[in-house]
């Protein structure tokens, strides 16, 4: 089994540790990981802001890039939703029949990370160890666009040492929404405050998700408020084992023994 990792632009730039965790995890499960060096962005930001032409050109780039891949694994539910829900419309409007056919062959090969594990590889116990209290933020795209269902929770349930704390109002948005957080900064902040109340009420050490964009938002607020709770992509939890517990940059003080990433 070979999987081509589409890391996404913001993970590449801001969350390299998530990508490293995906590689560790998949290789541990016997998957051969590929990485296309020309990859950049799926075009979601442009599409959702109304820049259809730009979004289409990035979509086309991605479709052509993964023509040969056996499976494309993406550790970001909103980017998977972009490809599944919006590419067809963009290609229909601005592309041609050939590209449309290529997209058709690509879509069944595109997987969000948890989908790849649960649906494609058929594993729930990935042999992970993460001895912490964790709450799971479903993220809107994972919940509604991808219908991930309880797959992610089943993965977490099998992590040794992990204590899962249920999150109230699981289906409510954290207020990120890409440029929404900028264009409607005040409203976004109000939504974030409401979400944080629920997240903090779980008394967890970590808030995890399958989308670092939500975690960027939540983590930024948690840090601002000195809340003590950390955010962590689920890939990093699943990659952790008894020998190598994942940690975040700057987490050294919180997690003795955690390997410090390539931070600074």
């Amino acid at each position: 089994m070979r999987a081509s990792l589409f890391i996404t632009c913001y993970n590449d730039t801001l969350f390299p540790e998530t990508g490293r965790a995906v590689v560790t995890l998949l290789e541990r499960l016997g998957v051969e990981v590929e990485f296309h060096p020309q990859q950049t962005c799926c075009g979601q930001m442009h599409a959702n802001t109304g820049f259809r032409g730009e979004a289409f050109s990035l979509a086309k780039r991605l479709i052509c890039m993964y023509g040969e891949a056996e499976a494309v694994v993406i550790p970001s539910s909103s980017c998977v939703a972009m490809i599944r829900d919006q590419y067809a419309g963009l290609v229909e409007e601005l592309g041609d029949g050939a590209l449309g056919r290529e997209l058709e062959t690509l879509l069944p090969r595109v997987y969000e990370l948890s989908e790849f594990l649960v649906d494609r590889l058929g594993v729930e116990d990935v042999g992970a160890y993460f001895p912490h209290r964790v709450t799971y933020h479903a993220s809107c795209h994972g919940l509604r666009a991808l219908n991930l269902g309880n797959g992610p929770l089943r993965l977490l349930a099998k992590v040794r040492g992990l204590e899962l704390a249920p999150l109230k109002n699981l289906d409510r948005c954290c207020g990120f929404g890409g440029t929404f957080a900028i264009k409607n900064g005040e409203v976004s902040s109000a939504m974030l405050t409401a979400k944080l109340q629920d997240v903090l009420a779980t008394g967890s050490e970590y808030c995890t998700a399958l989308d670092n964009s939500c975690l960027l938002h939540l983590g930024g607020a948690l840090h601002r408020q000195f809340a003590g709770m950390k955010t962590i992509h689920m890939a990093e939890i699943l990659a952790s084992t008894q020998d190598a517990v994942a940690g975040h940059p700057g987490d050294g003080d919180l997690l003795p023994g955690a390997p410090v990433g390539s931070w600074r």
């Binding site: 409607n184 900064g185 005040e186």
Partner: protein
């Protein structure tokens, strides 16, 4: 509290309203108002969730409801003509209004012919859309709202903030104050029962004496020429049966092909709107019936931008809307802002797509962006309107329009997105930009690796949240290094 203070009165005219982010500010700073809104929608949401969960065929009902509306819209011309023929045969008079001003004029003409000086009204969002009440007022005809929430707003000179419970932002003590002042009742207690009883007493006299009524319509039935009104209080039944003359104002998209289509619509509407299996009263009538109800019946079929929406393939689904408000109850944005920020009589997610399309994008440019695209609205919509899809499409239209303008060229967001595209189109440029970003952000990055304050557009983020600094090594650089090491 902004209920009656004229200075703070929200503007629900898209042509004059402030952009959404600005209009939302007064509400975000009003904890009482936000508490009122959150309480109301929590109650409805909870009831809705329970009743939808007990319906094993909910998804099948949604599928049928959305397809029934699609067939009706696809063949709107034929169904409207059939409705007109049947309604006319049953003694009704059918009028067609291309826009709001024509609808207002038609209604005024009918009222003048009736020598009406006052008129009783059932809550209708469509009449709010065409701003009927102030128009009639100016023409010397007093319009009395009869729905409890509408009375609260009319007497308190407030504006609706929700399409099903328009006064959900007003609490009991505010209602008490309004009723005491405007009905001249002293020592009125502030329990909802007493307040409701006060409204009942005042209105009963109106119902029995005013000979002309105006209603909206939840559905028009092409097959029979019938009109359906869905309500809770009974004020609708009063207005539909007691007056001599009834005028119904209905958007052209309200038509359903057949009587039996109600078996789907009535099952989804109340559950979605108020979290009830069925609303207390639903009335259907067909033209005029000797000895029962009004002697004269007029229907005004209103276009007012709807045929324009019909023409656009992706946006057409907007017209499926049955005005249940489930989308605003589910919306995390509406939950924070309430309805007034949307600057239109149609708030919430449906308003964010309906208002710009009805009124023209130039008036409501900020509305398609008033969403985090979380999809909660689509999930609950009983007629499966993919609101996020339409929002994105409208954003594209706004962007296309705005890009023509020179001032937008240097707008940081527009400029940023154009540059971002150039960068994303070439991997080497993307990698260079990452380096540049790391260097550029270094002065703002603190020792702990976090950014606490950014200038310009970025300040919108750092006002309330920190931002992770850029790590030293990107993922692709790590991958390249690892690959080299493996060789």
């Amino acid at each position: 509290m902004a209920v009656s203070a004229a200075a703070d009165r929200p503007i629900l005219d898209p042509a004059r309203a402030r952009p959404f982010p600005e209009a939302a500010l007064p509400v975000l700073r009003d904890p009482q108002l936000r508490k009122n809104v959150a309480h109301a929608i929590d109650v409805i949401q909870g009831k809705r969730a329970r009743l939808v969960a007990e319906k094993a065929d909910w998804q099948a009902l949604r599928a049928s409801a959305s397809r029934i509306k699609d067939v009706a819209l696809q063949n709107l011309g034929a169904y409207l003509e059939e409705f007109e023929a049947r309604c006319t045969a049953a003694g009704g008079v059918v009028h067609w209004a291309a826009d709001a001003s024509e609808a207002r004029r038609i209604i005024l003409d009918v009222l003048r012919a009736e020598k009406a000086t006052e008129v009783i009204k059932i809550k209708t969002m469509t009449s709010a859309e065409i701003e009927l009440n102030p128009f009639l007022e100016a023409a010397g005809i007093r319009a009395h709202e009869t729905d409890l929430a509408e009375i609260i707003l009319q007497l308190g000179e407030g504006e609706p903030s929700h399409i099903v419970v328009p006064a959900l932002h007003v609490n009991r003590s505010q209602v008490r104050e309004i009723f005491a002042r405007r009905m001249g009742i002293e020592d009125l207690p502030d329990d909802p029962e007493a307040l409701t009883a006060a409204a009942r007493r005042v209105l009963r006299a109106k119902f029995l004496s005013v000979p002309t009524a105006i209603s909206g319509a939840n559905f028009l039935i092409a097959e029979t020429g019938s009109v359906v009104v869905v309500e809770s209080e009974g004020n609708g039944r009063m207005c539909l049966t007691l007056p001599r003359t009834l005028i119904t104002l209905a958007g052209i998209e309200k038509v359903l092909p057949r009587f039996r289509d109600l078996e789907v619509m009535l099952q989804v509407l109340a559950r979605s709107a108020t979290g009830e299996r069925m609303n207390p009263y639903t009335s259907l009538w067909t033209g005029v019936t000797a000895g029962d109800g009004p002697e004269r019946f007029h229907v005004v079929l209103l276009d007012n931008g709807r045929s324009g929406i019909l023409a656009r393939e992706r946006e057409r689904q907007t017209l499926r809307c049955i005005r249940c408000a489930a989308c605003m109850n589910a919306c995390p944005v509406y939950r924070q802002t309430g309805g007034h920020a949307y600057g239109s009589v149609y708030p919430g997610p449906i308003g964010a797509i309906l208002t710009p399309q009805l009124q023209g994008l130039r008036h409501a440019q900020s509305l398609p962006y008033a969403s985090s695209l979380c999809g909660a609205c689509y999930e609950v919509c009983p007629v499966k309107i993919n609101i996020p899809e339409v929002l994105i499409d409208l954003r594209a239209q706004v962007t296309d329009q705005e890009r023509q303008r020179a001032r937008r060229f240097f707008d940081p967001l527009y400029l940023g997105l154009r540059v971002a595209h150039l960068v994303f189109a070439r991997a080497w440029l993307f990698h260079a930009a990452q380096c540049l970003g790391r260097v550029g952000l270094r002065p703002f990055t603190r020792k702990d690796g976090w950014i606490h304050a950014l200038p310009g557009v970025g300040a919108k983020w750092t006002e309330t949240r920190d931002l992770r600094g850029l790590p030293q090594q990107t993922f692709h650089a790590w991958w390249a290094e690892r690959a080299k090491g493996a060789k």
